[in-house]
Symmetry: C2
Subunit: 386 residues, 2 copies
């Protein structure tokens, strides 16, 4: 079975549009980690990238790195070199990106003055230190999420940004690489639901134990369930409410059904309040196999004049595939199939690197999302049942 | 246009099953309060009630009283007498329930020793005192929700129950009178999704200002948005998680878009944690007119082996009507149309009255739901945006 077949099988839909629709979790998490992720290579109708940059990749511990790399390439990035220590990770990455040279060390990439960007997905607690090294070497950084696993790391990242003037970007793929989420952002910016009041984000994930490395089960390495998965949802809360300031109202984390993995968290939720609206998120590792997708991710955005619902990756017993957007306003309820919506992140991010703008991602908002989940993670209470 | 036509028009579906599916909010809230609510008179296939009781009705300020009365009648109750002061309320009620005698006073009903039950829907802050008077006169009481609007009233109700040995029941219609919610309870009891971990309840409502009496806008009378609407969702959290103990983790209430109604709350949310699971609820008055229903009420019940979603009153751009149940487990995703599911509350409640059982409603759980929302309401913070 090819990776494409596997992906199609899992989602119950054809391939078209799916590479973009599904974060590559689907392969690493649902398929025992043996398949090399399919990547979104863009569509002939996509706008031509405005700029060209050279970049390197360091750390392949999560296969999010495949979609991150593909996004930068689509946006005008030239993948020059990569480094990882694990031979299997190296061989797989080379198969998907044969144009890239395997560097002899991390330092060879960091010290290569021809590179403008380093993208990385090492084990989560190693990401912020890597990004800081990259910035201190004059490069911008794009880290897989969670890119920061402690408040101390966050302070170090902020200090390094200030010192170097470089960018520490975080690939919040559940918004940036999900066409339905991109479309929701457009509709909201156009005022389709009035002023945003609240977001609710429900983000179940498939645990797929056989495919997981040791660090997956160790909160000290991945930062905890809110830090890890929840960072996506916190970022969506900030983005869709347009909040520049926000605080954690409450948070819970727990291990309610994995007694054999004492350092793992399988459930988390948190409430946030920002100057642009309020938000709630739930994250968990309880996707049942009968779904046919890695997670029934939902986003509800409530506005003063209507609301939007996304069924991002599945519509149980309903429409095939993902990227389903429902909008209800004062006049009607409408459905939009967003599977073919263009993903602008890559091209915007390359432009940001060259022009020193923050269109693809607002630096402060990206770090505020991390701050929210790190604060929530630190102060979370346990559910009574756990 | 008849009330039936109006209801069909509003829901975009035929009448069958709808009287049960839709709390009668739909008429009072969506139709300027001018139509007399349609009631669910049951189906010829319903089980025959086991017992007969005589009951009276006091207070018609919310037309929930129509579905409450109908439920007791379906369950074997004989409506003997009713009392209200407002001539329009009296005339409407007589038209729907011509068998009932208009009493000359509330006291005439409370002192009628032939009656076993009093059902009431006066203005919310008058409900608990009415229930206490009924219990002290040796009768059981069924109050519209919110039946209790302060922690002081709750203490008084608990004391009166202890003193009299009578029942203070609360009509949490969004579970007890919604066939899809009844079905969800059956499936969960059968273990369809394993052990329940969490409930998320999203409960938007249509504000329909023209149809609202003065007390609707005054928190002192209706108790606040969590006390009022939220009591439904808190009760569902307790019931579906099977919690006997629970606490409020966090709560927010606010008036984010009704500046002309300073004593009104249009948004609320809360997180609860119980010994059987945890729960989140959002309540609001932002249903947009384009929905074609009074609210896109959703319930997500997450279990260790699967999850259930209810689209209680609408399925935007999807299936007509309400009572849609989706269940995903380890094997498949399935859809169940629950519109014809039998509603057992009425018959169970009449049996409880006669046999002194608590099958229709557990007394302590019903009051714990009230305690949760009253506590949350008291301690709620404001969203930063409000």
């Amino acid at each position: 079975m090819t990776p494409i077949d596997r992906r199609s099988m899992l989602t119950g839909a054809g391939f078209a549009g799916l590479a973009a629709a599904l974060p590559d979790d689907v392969l690493g998490q649902a398929l025992s980690g043996n398949a090399i992720p399919v990547v979104n290579t863009g569509s002939p109708t996509d706008p031509r990238p405005k700029h060209h940059i050279r970049f390197g990749v360091i750390g392949l511990d999560h296969n999010h790195i495949y979609s991150m790399t593909a996004a930068v390439i689509r946006g005008g990035g030239e993948l020059v070199a990569f480094f990882a220590a694990d031979p299997k990770q190296v061989a797989d990455f080379q198969q998907r990106f044969p144009q890239a040279k395997l560097a002899r060390s991390e330092a060879e990439i960091i010290e290569d003055s021809s590179l403008q960007l380093i993208a990385g997905a090492p084990i989560p607690d190693l990401r912020a230190p890597l990004g800081i090294r990259a910035m201190k070497a004059g490069k911008d950084f794009l880290g897989d999420k969670p890119a920061i696993t402690s408040l101390e790391q966050l302070a170090d990242v902020r200090a390094a940004i200030k010192e170097t003037g470089r960018t520490f970007a975080i690939m919040y793929s559940e918004r940036l690489e999900v066409p339905a989420a991109v479309k929701a952002g457009e509709l909201i910016a156009q005022g389709a639901i009035g002023r945003v009041i609240q977001t609710i984000n429900i983000a179940p994930h498939l645990v797929s134990p056989a495919s997981r490395p040791d660090w997956f089960w160790d909160k000290a390495r991945y930062g905890g369930i809110l830090t890890d998965i929840g960072s996506h949802q916190a970022e969506q809360f900030l983005f869709f409410t347009g909040s520049r300031r926000a605080r954690v109202v409450a948070a819970q984390t727990g291990n309610v059904n994995h007694p054999d993995r004492p350092l793992f968290e399988d459930f988390g939720d948190m409430t946030m309040s920002g100057d642009g609206g309020t938000g709630y998120l739930r994250v968990d590792w309880f996707t049942p196999n009968g779904l046919g997708s890695w997670g029934d991710g939902r986003l509800f955005v409530l506005g003063t004049e209507g609301y939007i619902e996304l069924r991002k990756y599945a519509d149980p017993t309903g429409k095939p595939g993902g990227n389903h957007l429902f909008v209800v306003d004062g006049k009607s309820a409408r459905y939009l199939d967003c599977s073919k919506v263009y993903l602008p992140f890559g091209a915007q991010f390359v432009t940001d690197i060259v022009e020193r703008t923050q269109i693809a991602q607002d630096q402060e908002q990206a770090l505020l999302a991390a701050e929210l989940v790190l604060t929530a993670q630190k102060n979370a209470t346990r559910p009574l049942m756990a």
